[in-house]
Symmetry: C2
Subunit: 427 residues, 2 copies
């Protein structure tokens, strides 16, 4: 049901009218540092915001014992003892439209050395058109867009005609288990929208991702007998170098995957952490590194995990120095397939129309070669899922920031999409 | 004054007679884990042992404020709050011989993963001729040799004719500041003997050593934009690779240094620890590694430190990827010159005679390309210093152990050397 021009004007005007409140709220939630495991503070703010808006609010912990057999589950590394998911629901007495889930995650990645930030990473400093802070782009701005989009519809005098669930989930950055828990508890809808920072493009596909921890061994020796030992740090370097060969082979497969063939490095093996040795003048005995590697929609993660493990166990034949390295592999974090949203879905058409009405441009489709919670709704529930959000810079980096004009446009687009998807009626 | 055959027989018989007590004591002190900073427990045992033997015992803390301007000082990284040096002195009413310092350090390096040890690293398990444990060889066996050598002289009915100081020092493994503190407080003698695990050879030279910590930077980025970042872990790998070039150049100089020319890797740059990144799926922003590199007796550490710093700062011209790596260098631990004991000293001649009397072989001279506390007495006090101790295996490694028959021989050799050097008279 297309929106009238009057409805479009009223809803977008309402986004404009409340935008300073939206930025204030964004600053509030950026200032609640929500590193993995520490999301309770920001979730409390979101819970209160939903209750204040008249949602039926449910909060619930993640129970690994229940969750671990669900296919959307990935191996957790940081426990869920002190944190929880939040869901806010609005359900009309009778439904004439299509139901919708608006999802956002609240966990953020570490800041790296805060001394290198122009503004302290949790200060939520506003400079001109940009709001700075860890999580500003990824993805607390998107969370405010979800909330204030619905606010704008209501402020414009309309009521949604189909069930809406606003989800504020934890642990997207390690595993995706926040959204997995929502799915396990039964969250379903006719579409899902997740305003990750996509620079106002529609992410129509992502990569599958597996995350690993590898510990290699050296043979310790005293520096006066350097030839008697093998350094675990050197062994780690050699293992990583050889795994770059696997990455190159996986990258070479991109030619068989439309869209991915345009990316230079879709597999993108990132070594994110390393820790080895314990003494300056001892040859290090163990070295552990953690990372992630990607693959293509349609690939089964278990097949990629098996191939990765096989490659790791075969390194001794590539480099005899690695015969004693004895690599020990653990899966730690996301182990999920990628997705691809078919062209021509109703959801995408409606989003493109809303985007066009607001931005005056056609909606660009692009790929993100990383894990996205949309993958869980696409792959495990068959729900068309739109990842679409504001322009940001330096996500996961120093001086992360989000464009406020872009956030305003995205909030309008989400409002128009939500109104059009669920249907609206006057209050 | 050569010892009589009767004196030799009586002293060595006394070592035999008390040897099971010596092994018991060695087990006691191996079972007192004395990682750097945690030496107080074992020092308490040594203090009690010295007092029980009638030494004048002094214990004293290391005061960096006092010590830091002494040339024997090296930059400390672990504080000295809860630990102390122990000295035990025996001073005859009148002295007719030459004074002697018997020195040993009690700090030990970490165990690496204890699961890989055949016996728990602080269990001091005796299996046949070997005693296993972290510190068994390096160098708690040597400490018992010092103590029980003097015991044997006394048990044989003799009294030393010159001042003797038995030193039990901390922090040889990071800096050498335990011995530096003894020197700063005025410890001097006509010779020093340190029973490091030298496999019953005389270490006549060692390498100078500098120890460093280097932090390199990357440029963080999200995995979906892999080309936008530089991984600090990759940067660390590249920096280490380039520093191997410096190591090769320093190794090439060995041809100008007699004795060192026989070693394959006298510079021996060891990268002992590494730590970088904080998130599997973020490109790491900082990576820190620690290590040591050696050079030759006669070289000034400050010149080598300057050359090292210059090489580090010039890496961007060797590899443009390192232009942004911005390596930050700290000196953390030993920064000391090497030493070379001239041939033909009275001390060496007497040690060779004692060794010959006990072992029946000629004393071999060899080099240790690592830091030794003897360097401080040689370079800062001009005292001839003998590093000579028992056969051991796997020092700084897994399953460190010391040979008990070798320890018995070394104890006899030290007893005969001490008796000959200081002179003895009947009680």
């Amino acid at each position: 049901m297309p929106l009238s021009q009057d409805a479009i004007a009223a809803i977008t005007a309402a986004v404009d009218a409340q935008f300073e409140d939206q930025v204030d709220f964004l600053q509030d939630i950026v200032r609640a540092p929500s590193l993995r495991g520490e999301e309770a503070g920001v979730q409390g703010i979101v819970e209160k915001a939903l209750k204040g808006r008249g949602y039926d609010v449910e909060t619930y912990p993640l129970d690994v014992a229940v969750l671990k057999d669900h296919p959307a589950y990935s191996p957790a590394t940081i426990d869920y003892a002190d944190t929880f998911n939040v869901a806010g629901r609005k359900t009309p007495a009778t439904s004439s439209g299509r139901s919708l889930i608006l999802n956002a995650h609240v966990d953020v990645v570490p800041t790296a050395n805060p001394d290198f930030w122009t503004h302290p990473p949790f200060s939520a400093t506003r400079v001109g058109d940009w709001l700075y802070g860890r999580g500003a782009g990824d993805m607390k701005a998107g969370l405010t867009a979800n909330l204030f989009a619905v606010d704008a519809i209501e402020a414009a005098g309309f009521r949604l005609q189909a069930p809406l669930e606003v989800q504020s989930v934890i642990d997207e950055e390690v595993t995706g288990n926040g959204t997995a828990a929502a799915i396990q508890r039964g969250a379903r809808a006719d579409a899902v929208l997740i305003p990750e920072p996509t620079d106002e493009e529609l992410t129509y596909a992502n990569s599958g991702v597996i995350k690993f921890r590898i510990t290699v061994q050296g043979v310790p020796a005293h520096p006066r007998e350097p030839d008697s030992g093998l350094s675990a740090i050197e062994a780690a370097f050699l293992v990583i170098k050889e795994l770059r060969g696997l990455e190159a082979r996986w990258n070479a497969e991109r030619l068989d995957h439309a869209g991915f063939d345009k990316l230079s490095n879709p597999a993108s093996m990132n070594i994110g952490t390393i820790s080895g040795g314990e003494w300056q003048s001892s040859i290090p005995f163990e070295c552990t590194f953690e990372g992630r590697i990607g693959f293509y929609p349609g690939d089964r993660p278990e097949d990629r995990m098996a191939a990765f493990e096989q490659a790791l166990n075969g390194l001794g034949s590539l480099d005899p120095r690695l015969e004693k390295a004895n690599p020990r592999l653990e899966w730690t974090g996301t182990c999920q397939a990628g997705y691809r949203l078919a062209e021509g879905t109703d959801a995408e058409k409606l989003l493109a129309a809303a985007h066009g009405a607001v931005a005056g441009t056609s909606l660009q489709r692009s790929i993100m070669a990383c894990y996205l919670d949309a993958a869980l709704y696409m792959n495990h529930c068959g729900i068309p899922s739109l990842t679409y959000g504001p322009l940001s810079k330096n996500i996961h980096g120093i001086d992360e920031c989000v464009s406020l004009p872009s956030l305003k446009r995205v909030t309008k687009t989400i409002a128009l999409f939500t109104a059009g998807w669920c249907g609206i009626a006057p209050e």
